[in-house]
Symmetry: C2
Subunit: 266 residues, 2 copies
């Protein structure tokens, strides 16, 4: 958890089916308004454990900030429920202003907010492919069962993990699966981690938006416990992202990029 | 399914863990741009089975259209991926224009797009309460297992049901749980169904946004198979919405409004 993160679980009194009062945990959910040099961009509802990562990753995955070097500081203030990102110029970046001007025609795609500009450069992203062994997928799925701590206690959250070989490098849960993916992107920027040789795991389904986010983070492989949607598949075909879904225990389906999977476990 | 609805399931070839090709179903996902008198409002990603309901319900639940009588026609065109809602004036409604003017400060809360205006009138909504028997909850949960057809085949979707006593009046699935709830609101408007004596069931979690949508539809009880978030609970307390979550089989928790539940099953 980052320094400025909130506690993810709140204890409340609930009545169970026998009529008895019990203390139960529920997931936190707080608004966080993301600003760039004091200019309001969006308000996200978040678990709040990784506000810096979320703010940075949101701007990254929406294609609103292109280079982490343009960011000087992220200031999170839960009193005002804001994460203010200061850029080098302190007056916003030229390219971000241009993009925000298009904001009038924003669209809220699916369960996320998408700027009309975010597709602009998506097709220019070059992904590097690598061979992923079936045995590595199994090892990873086993390793991943150790995570999802908040989900195990209160449900209601999705988790995303950045994986390399059979290791989980980062795992973040949030009330929105988009937020969890964005926060991974933010953490990668902070730590200078590239996406090239990684797998992005998600407990959520593979929709067009999660495919876009993977591309923005230059991660060539998506692995999901859940299923997938038609647009997720179409976009992955266009962008060349390997899609493995409905992956649980020893079962999975490869929906795209099967040439990158080595079936080494009979 | 409405006349202009799309097929919800697409068959694609996927490779299973044995390396064998299999035909599997995946959920449809198509963009649908909602317009009011030709003015673009938002683009949603949807399963596409209930476009009229979704378009109407989205505008209703965002508080952008206040009276169904103001709507003359909904024209769905999948060629252009639009649902155009024509109002009486054919030039947009005065109040909708006023609300859209505030669009510059929109926020994309959690997994949905929320107009800053949508909270304006939320606290003015009067909800009427009724006693809900535990035995009715059990009967409903049993009845609801017959639905969720798309989920059962391909996963990846959420379902919402409008229930009265132990009957499911409407059940709609969509790739987003927000869409499913919105489509219920649209159908209620089309059929002139009030929310007063109903229960809104959802397979998704109870976040602030789903609580807002229930209030917009004047439905006083939310029932979820999943858990809940802190803001969902806080908003439900403010608005007086009964919250039953983690409801499966013979188990549930009442998080708010326990005075409306009759525990009649020992």
């Amino acid at each position: 958890m980052s320094k400025s993160g909130l506690e993810p679980i709140y204890r409340v009194a609930a009545i169970d089916q026998t009529g008895k009062e019990r203390k139960v945990g529920i997931a936190g959910e707080s608004p966080l308004t993301i600003k760039v040099d004091d200019r309001e961009i969006v308000t996200l509802m978040t678990l709040g454990t990784h506000p810096e990562e979320l703010a940075l990753g949101y701007l990254r995955n929406q294609g609103l900030i292109e280079h982490v070097e343009d960011v000087v500081r992220v200031k999170v203030d839960w009193e005002s429920e804001t994460a203010n990102i200061f850029t080098r110029s302190r007056k916003g970046l030229k390219y971000i202003k241009k993009k925000l001007a298009k904001r009038i025609v924003t669209s809220g795609c699916g369960e996320g907010t998408l700027f009309s500009c975010s597709l602009d450069k998506l097709y220019e992203i070059k992904l590097s492919h690598f061979k992923l062994r079936q045995s590595t997928i199994y090892a990873l799925l086993k390793e991943l069962t150790k995570y999802n701590q908040i989900y195990k206690e209160v449900g209601t959250v999705h988790g995303c993990g950045l994986c390399k070989n059979n290791k989980v490098l980062i795992f973040i849960e949030d009330v929105g699966r988009h937020n969890a993916a964005d926060a991974i992107g933010g953490r990668m920027w902070i730590d200078g981690i590239t996406g090239a040789d990684k797998v992005l795991y998600t407990t959520g389904r593979l929709t067009s938006e999660i495919v876009m986010k993977a591309a923005q983070m230059t991660i060539p492989v998506l692995l999901s416990r859940s299923g997938m949607t038609r647009m997720g598949l179409e976009l992955a075909r266009d962008l060349g992202i390997t899609l493995i879904a409905r992956a649980k225990g020893k079962r999975f389906f490869v929906y795209h990029g099967e040439e990158n999977i080595v079936f080494d476990t009979p």
